[in-house]
Point group: C2
Chain length 434, copies 2
């Protein structure tokens, strides 16, 4: 089965927006083992749209069309589609009612212009839009001596497109494949979030795991993390699920605590859940990250249950006066040192009466480096009931990524402590030669 | 002149990456007043590529091809292009040298596989790649009775694509247009960053300004900001520049301090530059934003010259002990109150010995609201030599956007003070009825 994705809109052809719908739809088709062979975009121009429809009818069995379903004059998709395949537009009363109800929920009256969205090609199947005004449709374009080409039309608004693809388009495609005796094998996939090992190392570590029959292992870098996406297929959902569970177990056994989360889970959510489960509290003392660690911790709803607060100790005075870092430590070792990182973490723990304290102090650049303490040098301090420690790293990155990686290391330090794991070996940075 | 953008790669058709090259190239073509009429993507498949090349030759005058110039077996763009238009591939010695030199700069030897990238279609013009190994090329595909179609091939790596589009493709296209007596009118554009007025209000405020001859005014929402992009054209660069300057003056006169920056300038950079110019220092006290304001201030290199630090006072104890907020204020008014916001800003100013203090305290949700103090309520406090004040806002947004908008209001408060402007009237939130 050959698929084409066709997106329509002047704004795409003028480069005003990046078209993410194509990637979304292509990924969804792959779930049914349907490969997208063509992606096309044209303007809101009837002649170009017509050409694109005819070409797609000829070369593709399923055509996903997005865009041009809005209420304004330049939204022409259904009118041109109907004309191209010799259909009239007919008023679909239930859709008109749905549009009216949509506006009523917002406490507004439907503008007359929106009534246009309820006119659909005769003989097409309506695809309801639960979150917007534009219904979609499925139109079968006949082809001599072949199965008809299936045109699925959905809105261009990404949220509506995604919801309708998942709820309207994919189930219909899957049912048709099943009826034709070409049911796609069941697919189950999961995203595993890892931190602390580069993509090529992950690939190497997992090479034999990935050879597992019928499990594809995808990699994606999302700095400073690396994501793994095992995709398992099987004759039944149970079989695919069992395969997926098996490969996930193998990955976790191989990588241990390098896997920190699943799906949408962020590092700060994982840290928060662990703190909450253990009944422990945390405080932060940030120099080079400037509030980034605190900001991430408090991005999680309910963080006040375990996060006490922190000091952004950018100036030395602040380190001394708000965190109680002794002046002689600052004078002897400098603000960027293991000693000061430990004292900062201890100070945060003490000043906020928290169970755990974590700190950052480093030189994120681009200025401020010296031969002895170069740009990229950073210390992550950690204090707990049993004492304190600091990790020294040299991260040769730009300012933004230096700060982002440092914040992730700090959060991961807390996580590993709560799991009873050793601190991460700094494979991604160069450990500093002394 | 009709343009087509053609991107090539299995990863696009599988939806593994969102293709941003198309939008980039389309925007660049518009600078030469060339409209993109078709965008197409195909797999690394010789038959599909050949079809796409032939179709583009027929329907477009200029074809920008990106992707498939890499060293591996599935990088076939130049081989298929050459074959489609009856050319041989020829070794281009200077390109081979450039590739060798590229690796030498990295202290590595060129792998044999990379030599393939120096084989280019006979008769094509080489487009050097200053930051990667793959040179591009310009091939003229002849057409009967018409000017040849121009195929510009560039790599798919976005950074290389962008640099080669700007340095190799656009100048050549512009020169050709000029030779054909169809020189594009000069274009000058600028991005004006505004904060504090919604898109529809901006549109309304600037309607007559935008009517200015030959100046198009684009709007783009980048929450919590709104960007304006006036685009001026003229017979000469001077004329376009004069038009642009005139419209920018008119916009600034109309909007005043609502325009906070130009181009890539961020709010935190503007605040930092103003603090530096005035020789003043700033400290922060953050509750609901949890470190976001500090993080943004310290994202600017050299922030230590004016940012002293801050307290993330998430727990009440922290507000009291680290910022000196009186217990009776907390007890009488609650942590989310104008009184506590002022005391926090004053405390930050005092504890960090800074000239200015800014604070946030609010309920970002989704939990934690009460009938008296609903989710969305937030206070931004500000303290300076002359006293302190607090602004009360009700921002009905999700947690992430509530925090982002609050942080922007806090930074903008500092900016307006430094400019001698009144605090922003909270048109974007509902001011709280009391």
């Amino acid at each position: 089965m050959i698929a084409e994705i066709l997106t329509i809109g002047d704004e795409l052809l003028r480069g005003e927006i990046v078209d993410s719908n194509k990637a979304f739809l292509a990924e969804r088709l792959l779930r049914l083992e349907i490969e997208t062979r063509f992606q096309t975009s044209v303007r809101d121009d009837p002649a170009d749209m017509r050409d694109a429809f005819l070409r797609a009818q000829d070369r593709a069995d399923v055509v996903l069309v997005s865009g041009g379903l809005g209420p304004t004059r330049d939204d022409l998709t259904l009118a041109v589609l109907a004309e191209t395949f010799g259909r009239a537009l007919e008023l679909h009363e239930p859709s008109l009612e749905a549009i009216r109800a949509f506006f009523a929920r917002l406490g507004r009256e439907m503008a007359e212009i929106n009534a246009k969205q309820a006119w659909l090609p005769a003989g097409s199947e309506v695809l309801p839009n639960p979150i917007g005004t534009a219904p979609g449709c499925l139109l079968e374009a006949p082809r001599e001596g072949r199965e008809p080409a299936l045109f699925f039309c959905v809105p261009g608004v990404p949220g509506e497109m995604a919801k309708m693809a998942d709820e309207q388009v994919l189930p219909r495609l899957e049912a048709r494949l099943a009826r034709a005796g070409r049911a796609p094998r069941a697919m189950r996939a999961v995203l595993l979030r890892t931190f602390g090992l580069g993509e090529s190392n992950l690939d190497h570590e997992l090479r034999d795991v990935a050879r597992e029959a019928d499990v594809a292992l995808g990699f994606r870098t999302a700095f400073p993390d690396n994501f793994l996406r095992p995709v398992a297929r099987g004759a039944s959902a149970e079989e695919a699920e069992a395969r997926l569970a098996k490969v996930c177990d193998a990955i976790r056994e191989r990588l241990g605590a390098l896997v920190y989360g699943v799906g949408e889970e962020t590092m700060e959510q994982v840290v928060g859940a662990l703190l909450r489960a253990r009944g422990l509290t945390l405080a932060t003392a940030e120099s080079c990250t400037g509030g980034l660690v605190g900001q991430r911790l408090t991005a999680v709803p309910g963080a006040s249950a375990y996060y006490q607060g922190g000091v952004v100790a950018y100036a030395n005075d602040a380190k001394r006066e708000l965190l109680g870092v002794p002046q002689d430590l600052l004078a002897r070792h400098g603000a960027v040192s293991a000693e000061v990182a430990r004292a900062m973490a201890e100070g945060a723990r003490r000043r906020f009466a928290a169970d755990l304290g974590v700190s950052t102090t480093g030189i994120s650049g681009p200025e401020g480096g010296t031969p002895e303490k170069p740009v990229g040098l950073v210390y992550v301090g950690f204090a707990h009931e049993g004492g304190s420690e600091a990790q020294e790293l040299l991260l040769p990155l730009d300012r933004e990524r230096h700060r982002a990686l440092t914040a992730q290391i700090a959060l991961d330090r807390v996580r590993r402590h709560l799991l009873g794991e050793a601190p991460l070996a700094p494979r991604f940075g160069r450990e500093r030669a002394r």
